[in-house]
Symmetry: C2
Subunit: 340 residues, 2 copies
């Protein structure tokens, strides 16, 4: 058994633009957190240094030393190999096959556990907000892109290639707009923030009027979810129509998941939901109901996450705690094939 | 322990038009089977009598008596409550809230276990064909409609309302054709047999030429999957285009499932696949690959079932065996909430 003096873990949320590190005690209370910019353009090894500094600062902020940290969990964007601790492909970071866990462990002398960022956000919301009570939960995170994390029987479902949860690239409108991934009609191509902006830009280029040009100029410089919120308050038709399509797509994506997986809870998170929850939720719920099969959606909770930006560090800390527990116990907290 | 003399189970596949009952020994060998027409128009109680007769005939055919049967598994179309043994809603049979298991048990004095027909087909294929080896499998059954069954961690995934696996009503083409369920763009509305026939009929009504009218007359009376196969052999453009869209939709549905759930195996079954496997599979595989995220589909097996019509009785027998084992053991072979 470990001395309770050192029963701390760190959760890290690694994003394309920022790094967030939080220190958690044995009761999953966040004792403090520190944010740094990622500076991905400096290359992976420099980013590792920044992550390490962010962690050291957070630990120091909590009047602890790194030797008191039992483990570090880290959620990274893109596809990852959790068993090897390798980021396989992260377009936002421009990383390919980078052994992040190994590099970070070498630097800090602490065990490092890696997962996909949406998977850790799902873990964070499931344990942090829902107290691990529902049997199953699908987390849908609407940000620049759209990702997901699936909890079944209380465990993270990772699947055969450990890539499960790619909800944003579910095709829902075969003849619809082209997605960043190159395919047509992905959920993300209609409801992701980048796609919402692209649709608005395209209409403005065509000469369509919107309060956004009054607010930000013709080029819509500095367009944010907050700008959309202001435009909605002013009942701007272009923004309203665009968000209405995004909400419809989100409702349909939820209905597809309810029809296929039939989870107990569907949890929505990410920047778009944080900023526009009130504007989007009624149409999301209406469409989810409309497109679900009779009986399938009865009693299924469709809710917005309250953790906001903190879901990632919460989930990463939970991941670290689970993996450390697994090292001591034979049972596993993560579903998936173990052919390794 | 039971005398090995009575270690038999019966698997029943209840369809809208026919009932199939098979007797299985302890090694899951089918000793014999009997088929009867359903005669659903005579009402549920008459259908129960026909199911009972079908079972008795099958048992007699195998030189056994009903007292040697330990349990009966039955797969029924539509939504069912497996715990209560009730068919909740079966449009094909015109049944609503019918306690099938209770009625059948009263008649035969044998334990009866009920499941959705696609779930038992998935169980049958998973254990019968794949020997229960893959960690996970999604079964997609293309018949008049399209249904599915999901196996995760070796167990049937039923979900919160026990309705999981409604793959046919996954929306993939939001602005596409109207489905029998009333919504637009469901997978089934493009690739189900009824939808394929409807599309062909509509084109023929518009005056489009096809070898099918030469074969069957203007009204396309007696159109079957086999007729489509013959038309494909004769390179009929209308049939070829229609099936090409169906194969594309099937590939996209598979890719969505691979992106979301990332199963080890996707197994295709049902009458459409049985009749048209060679014509459809190349385009199905091509589209599944095209619409899957990089890495997600690597090594995922996409295969056609070889069990054919027998998947249902195999799966129902396996269900019965599992449920009987469960009565003796604390572990459960079926995932899902047990709030009952």
């Amino acid at each position: 058994m470990t001395n309770s003096n050192s029963n701390y873990v760190v959760g890290v949320d690694l994003g394309g633009t920022k790094i967030l590190a939080g220190v958690f005690d044995a009761n999953q209370n966040c004792l403090g957190s520190v944010k740094k910019s990622t500076k991905a353009d400096r290359g992976p090894k420099e980013v590792v240094k920044r992550i390490a500094r962010c962690i050291m600062d957070a630990v120091d902020e909590c009047d602890l030393s790194i030797s008191q940290i039992k483990g570090i969990g880290i959620g990274a964007p893109g596809s990852v190999d959790p068993d090897q601790g390798v980021v396989l492909f992260a377009p936002n970071l421009k990383w390919k096959d980078f052994p992040l866990a190994e590099h970070l462990k070498k630097r800090l002398k602490v065990e490092v556990f890696l997962e996909n960022d949406c998977n850790v956000c799902a873990l964070g919301a499931y344990h942090g907000e829902l107290k691990g009570e529902p049997e199953s939960m699908v987390g849908i995170f609407l940000g620049t892109g759209i990702g997901g994390g699936i909890i079944l029987n209380g465990k993270l479902h990772r699947g055969f290639n450990k890539t499960a949860g790619e909800i944003g690239h579910m095709v829902i409108d075969l003849n619809g707009p082209t997605c960043g991934c190159g395919r047509n009609g992905c959920f993300e191509a209609i409801a992701g923030r980048a796609s919402i902006y692209r649709q608005i830009h395209a209409e403005v280029q065509k000469g369509r009027e919107t309060v956004l040009t009054t607010m930000l100029g013709k080029e819509l410089k500095g367009l944010k979810s907050g700008s959309l919120k202001k435009a909605m308050k002013r009942r701007d038709p272009l923004v309203s129509e665009t968000l209405s399509r995004a909400a419809e797509a989100t409702g349909i994506a939820i209905a597809n998941l309810v029809n296929i997986l039939n989870p107990e809870v569907v949890l929505l998170g990410g920047g778009v939901i944080e900023a526009l929850e009130r504007d989007l939720m009624p149409a999301i719920l209406q469409n989810a109901e409309l497109y679900s099969m009779p009986g399938a959606i009865d009693g299924v909770q469709i809710i917005a996450s309250t953790l906001g930006d903190d879901a990632g560090i919460h989930g990463s800390a939970i991941l670290a705690r689970m993996m450390l527990d697994d090292c001591q116990a034979p049972s596993n907290n993560v579903n998936g094939n173990d052919n390794s």
